[in-house]
Amino acid sequence: MTNRAQVYARIIELIEPLNPKKLALAEDTSFAGDLEMDSLTVMDLVASMEDEWDIVMPLNMLPDLETIGQVADAVTKLVTK
């Protein structure tokens, strides 16, 4: 059983290499605004999360996921579904 805390911790690990400015990562850190991720980086990150949990995160779901916390919620929901 995977819980949200585990998911959140693993997402932080996955983001770390994509965080060259070493920003402090938190629930409300945003991908576009704070981390300044471009769409290619986002795509790589999504692919790595999909592989990590063997889930599907459709493209049309992404606009609603602005912060790390929101992604953790969404992944948790997909994993426990």
Binding site: D38, S39, L40, M43, A47, E50, D51, D54, I55, V56, P58, L59, N60, M61
Partner: protein, 403 residues
């Protein structure tokens, strides 16, 4: 002043900075005269066209022009109506018949552009609860079709059979699935491994749509596209294409053998809610398509010219997007935006027009000078082009940077 246009400020500023370096705007070229499929007048200068999609050189074909002229006189300048109301003329039917014959398929639907064909097919075929699985490098019209529809969208890594299979396997077996592929990818000029990709899609129970915009006329025994050359015609459910490239006019289409295909005319909004193509255009298209069925000599010339340009550029030290010549698009990899624009302008001033491509149209943030060949290019023109590439490359210091 801040208003709805403020979100465009970063792009406006980027362009202003670029133009301030003294280069001209690569997206504001005007063709003052067009003398043939391969020569136009730009800035008063006769220029070799090496950046059009006029692969088969049909734009000035005498039979095509004659058909267009006759239709213009007989049927008028426009239809002033939708395909499903007053906008289907004899010519639209004849054009769809030509497509059915060309592709050997039982149904054909002509749209007003290829963009609308993708917009319509993609948004209509996959609905709520269905999944679209598309190559990450898909054309903008395919992505826009996804956004217009209600399906869930999953991307797979460009041309990766392994990634496609992995993503398909994660989907519930019972949901509807549409896999969308292109024969030729127009930015890098690479072709898709359709044999592998289509086999995986079929094994996972998906329907398959292939966009053959840049393959029509010169891939496969009948010139149907990369899917024909790959031997997967029986497993492709829908082929989308355009008249704006090899056919040499404007318009888009989808062909299929699906028994219920005709219902799409009533449920596909980008087909229904727009005016049909003018009579002259469908007459030109039908004539051109029928001529493309017997264009063996032109096909050979096009491939000859493409290979000559590809190997010639490599021999002269340019870095190309594909190791060998895969299509009639030859893309030169450039280091950055400024060198790309300067080189593009130097080529233009030397009398050669190529396409400049930049992100987001290109994948992986690359800058390209994209060349596309025409069956009507002469060996002498290509020699001139290669010579001008070397001159322009030297002028902008391209080789110094690469060294």
């Amino acid at each position: 002043m801040s208003d709805l246009f403020s979100k465009f400020d970063p792009l406006i500023n980027e362009r202003a900075d670029l133009l301030a370096t003294g280069v001209r705007d690569p997206f504001a070229i005007v063709m003052q005269e067009v003398k043939s499929p391969t020569v136009a007048v730009i800035d008063g200068r006769e220029t070799i066209l090496l950046g059009t999609y006029n692969y088969m050189g049909m734009t000035f074909d005498p039979d095509v022009i004659a058909a267009g002229e006759t239709a213009l006189r007989k049927f008028g300048a426009g239809t002033t109506g939708s395909r499903v109301l007053n906008g289907t003329y004899q010519g639209h039917k004849e054009c769809e018949d030509a497509l059915k014959d060309f592709y050997g398929m039982s149904h054909a639907m002509v749209f007003s552009t290829g963009y609308q064909a993708n917009l319509g097919m993609v948004s209509t075929l996959a609905g709520k609860g269905d999944f679209i699985i598309l190559d990450a490098d898909s054309h903008a019209s395919i992505y826009d079709g996804c956004y217009l529809g209600n399906a869930d969208i999953v991307r797979f890594k460009h041309n990766s059979a392994e990634d496609l299979e992995k993503r398909l396997r994660r989907l519930p077996p019972e949901v509807g699935k549409l896999v969308i592929l292109e024969g030729v990818y127009s930015m890098l000029g690479d072709i898709a491994p359709l044999k592998e990709l289509v086999a995986i899609a079929k094994a996972q129970g998906a329907m398959v749509l292939v966009d053959e915009a840049h393959g029509m006329g010169f891939f496969g025994e009948h010139g149907r596209g990369v899917y024909e050359a790959a031997g997967v015609a029986d497993d492709v459910d829908f082929v989308v294409g355009t008249f704006s490239k090899s056919v040499g006019t404007v318009g888009g289409f989808c062909v299929s053998n699906h028994p219920k295909f005709e219902i799409l005319r009533l449920v596909c909004r980008p087909y229904t809610f727009t005016a049909s193509l003018p009579p002259a255009v469908v007459a030109c298209a039908a004539t051109s398509i029928r001529k493309l069925m017997h264009a063996g000599a032109k096909r050979e010339r096009l491939w000859d010219m493409s290979r000559t340009l590809h190997s010639g550029l490599i021999a002269r030290g340019f870095r190309l997007a594909t190791d060998s010549c895969e299509s009639a698009i030859v893309s030169v990899l450039m280091p950055d935006q400024e060198t790309t624009v300067r080189m593009w302008q130097a080529m233009l001033e030397l009398g050669v027009y190529v396409n400049m491509s930049r992100p987001p149209a290109t994948p992986a943030g690359v800058f390209l000078l994209r060349c596309s060949l025409c069956a009507e290019h002469s060996a002498a023109q290509l020699e001139t082009v290669l010579e001008r590439f070397v001159m322009a490359g030297a002028a902008v210091g391209l080789f110094a940077e690469a060294a």
